[in-house]
Amino acid sequence: MDRKLRVLIAKPGLDGHDRGAKVIARALRDAGMEVIYTGLRQTAEMIVAAAVQEDVDAVGLSVLSGAHMHYFEAVVDGLNTKGADDVLVFGGGIVPDQDRPRLEELGVGEVFGPGANTDDVVAYVRRAVAERRAS
């Protein structure tokens, strides 16, 4: 049970703003996790396929284009369909407070906004994955 945490950091859709995704990927990797970064322009199907194939513990979606509702929903649905509903889905980007309740309903974990501390993100992923493994 002590295998390294595996995290997929994904950029769904057309948005090319990848500073945050890359910074988070680097922070998680430096914290000892195995990080797979998808690169840009991924469809929800591609992200789900990568998550299943790489057998990850968590998927972090980075969306700054306003298309977050569409992509979070599609990725969560996709993972559920593939029986990978134990995978933690979390995220980061420009997500208005109004949209957060719906994301919570979908079972999406924390969504970090601008100004988030990378240490907090690392600690969160560790804790949330541990909780999922325990349950």
Binding site: G13, G16, H17, D18, R26, L40, I94, P114, G115, N117
Partner: protein, 548 residues
């Protein structure tokens, strides 16, 4: 008077032994170390005429016009776009009524990536971070009631720039406007897309070829249009520091000049219409120095390296925008203060036009109230502070002149590195820019995380704040957009549309200038997606190597 070094070693050392300096990073955001004071000792070899001169003359350190803001203030050009063409058209008109002096169009991601609003890749993105424009029909709605001969329009569009520009010009032609009088700017800077913003479609070589088509076509057919805005803004937003922003942007500009010369174009015909776009970030003096250094470096390159003889070829004219990346979601009203200070730096740097970010942009697209406040910030600087009353008021500041020199020196060092790699396109292939920017942004983030650099409301002076209202995009946008698209496809002359697309294909295949074909496609109501699909087939699509 004793030399600076001696004063620091004696008086200053003694004073700080008693009252130590704060434990803070005394360096600019680009990690240039900053001394306690600057004196003439820091400007050894500085030549007033060679390095500074008068405004409106070489090397333009002090500005590109003699009278600068005494003649005419900078153009207040607020970037706007969301939802349907109708909604953005209304926002444009209200901004013009509020005293804005130029327009700037934000397109949605499907448009930026060359997809029609009904393409599967457009799902969830139509009208979200800008307005959707899929054909001339959208363009006509977008600029309804706005005279293209009177109002200059800037369009932030890159990979599909030729097609969108053609739609804008076709719109103007159909209204009976004289293209000789229609002014504006298309961003059309593909190199910084590969370096930073990542909205590329085709591989670098054909992408640059499309840009040079506009260099060739523009001066002859739309002489008042800036056919490029070489942009550092996005390089900075992707996490670079100020020196990298300056160096990579000017290196991109030089790359385009070289490519245009390779095609046999006359430098003094195209260079006067090359414009620039820089970020204005938090480090006040470094930002001012950046603009001054940019003008001086460009002037020297154009005159002394490329042999341009037309004075207008030497002038770096630039737009500026306050730093979106510096805005915080925490205590968002504090962003008003950040934006005001950044805007002031842009003005003191002598920018020719300016966009001020709205305070709510770390949360969503700006509300109308937030966008208006941002415009008012510029109006306060223009009307109430006295800053525009004298040209380049900070010239002669030992610190600022030293910092301007330092930015220039470090930029030239980067030029050498990039040339050593075989130029900008080779450096892109090699991952040089991705690495440089990735390392800088990582370093900056760690400094904030470790509280070595404080950000008000984020890692210092933290407190809860009330929610602010945000702009929501009406989900019915997609339907309006898709209906118009369907009507366009149904009602246009199908044969002419097909034949225009065939002309585009053959121009691309044969390496001819594509602009005449794009103009024909625009008039024929070919959609953006159709045109970009033709080029995708001819040129292929680019995928970047994944680097963390």
């Amino acid at each position: 008077m004793k030399p600076k070094r001696q004063w620091l070693a004696e008086e200053y050392a003694e004073a700080t032994a008693q009252h130590p300096e704060r434990d803070a990073p005394f360096e600019t955001l680009s990690q240039i170390p900053v001394d306690p004071i600057y004196t003439p000792d820091d400007l050894e070899g500085f030549d007033l005429e060679r390095d500074l001169g008068y405004p409106g003359s070489f090397p333009y350190t002090r500005g590109v016009r003699d009278s600068m803001y005494r003649g005419r203030p900078w153009t207040m050009r607020m970037f706007a776009g969301f939802g349907t063409a109708e909604q953005t058209n209304q926002r444009f008109k209200r901004l013009l009524n509020a005293g804005q002096t130029g327009l700037s169009t934000a397109f949605d991601l499907p448009t930026l990536m060359g997809y029609d609003s009904d393409h599967p890749m457009a799902l969830g993105e139509v009208g979200k971070c800008g307005v959707a424009v899929a054909s001339l029909a959208d363009m006509e709605v977008l600029f309804d009631g706005i005279d293209p001969e009177q109002v200059t329009t800037s369009m932030t569009i890159n990979s599909p720039a030729n097609a969108i520009w053609a739609m804008y010009l076709a719109m103007a032609e159909r209204r009976g406007a004289d293209l000789g009088k229609v002014g504006g700017t298309i961003q059309n800077d593909i190199l910084k897309e590969f370096i930073a913003q990542k909205e590329y479609i085709f591989p670098p070589a054909p992408s640059v070829k499309l840009v040079i088509d506009t260099f060739e076509w523009g001066p002859k057919h739309a002489p008042r249009f800036n056919f490029i805005s070489v942009s550092g803004y996005h390089i900075r937003e992707a996490g670079s520091n100020a020196v990298q922003e300056l160096a990579f942007t000017l290196a991109d500009g030089i790359h385009y000049v070289r490519k245009a010369l390779e095609r046999g174009l006359d430098i003094d015909e195209f260079a006067p219409r090359i414009s620039f776009f820089f970020n204005v970030h938090n480090d006040f003096f470094e930002e001012i120095a950046k603009f001054r250094a940019a003008r001086r470096i460009w002037a020297r390159q154009m005159r002394d390296v490329f042999g341009a003889r037309n004075e207008r070829s030497w002038m770096l004219r630039t737009h500026a925008q306050t730093a979106g990346v510096s805005l915080t979601a925490q205590q968002p009203l504090v962003n008003l203060t950040r934006v005001a200070i950044q805007a002031l730096a842009g003005v003191l740097g002598g920018t020719n036009s300016l966009h001020t970010d709205a305070y709510d942009e770390a949360l969503a697209l700006p509300t109308e109230e937030a966008a208006t406040l941002a415009l008012r910030t510029q109006q306060v600087i223009a009307e109430e502070t006295g800053v525009p009353n004298t040209v380049d008021p900070l010239a002669g500041s030992y610190y600022l002149e030293w910092l301007t020199n330092e930015m220039e020196r470090r930029t030239l060092d980067y030029f050498e590195q990039i040339d050593g790699l075989g130029g900008v396109e080779a450096a892109i292939d090699e991952g040089f820019f991705a690495r440089e920017i990735g390392d800088a942004s990582w370093k900056a983030q760690r400094e904030v995380d470790d509280k070595r650099r404080l950000v008000v409301g984020v890692n210092a002076y933290v407190q809860d704040h009330p929610e602010v209202p945000i702009q929501l995009v009406d989900p019915s946008v997609v339907e309006v957009q898709q209906q118009r698209l369907a009507r366009v496809r149904r009602e246009r002359d199908a044969q002419e549309a097909e034949s225009a697309l065939a002309e585009l294909r053959s121009a691309a295949q044969d390496g001819r200038n594509t602009m005449p074909a794009f103009m024909r496609c625009a008039h024929a109501m070919c959609t953006l997606g159709e045109q970009m699909d033709v080029l995708r087939e001819v040129y292929g699509v680019y995928q970047e190597p994944v680097l963390i």
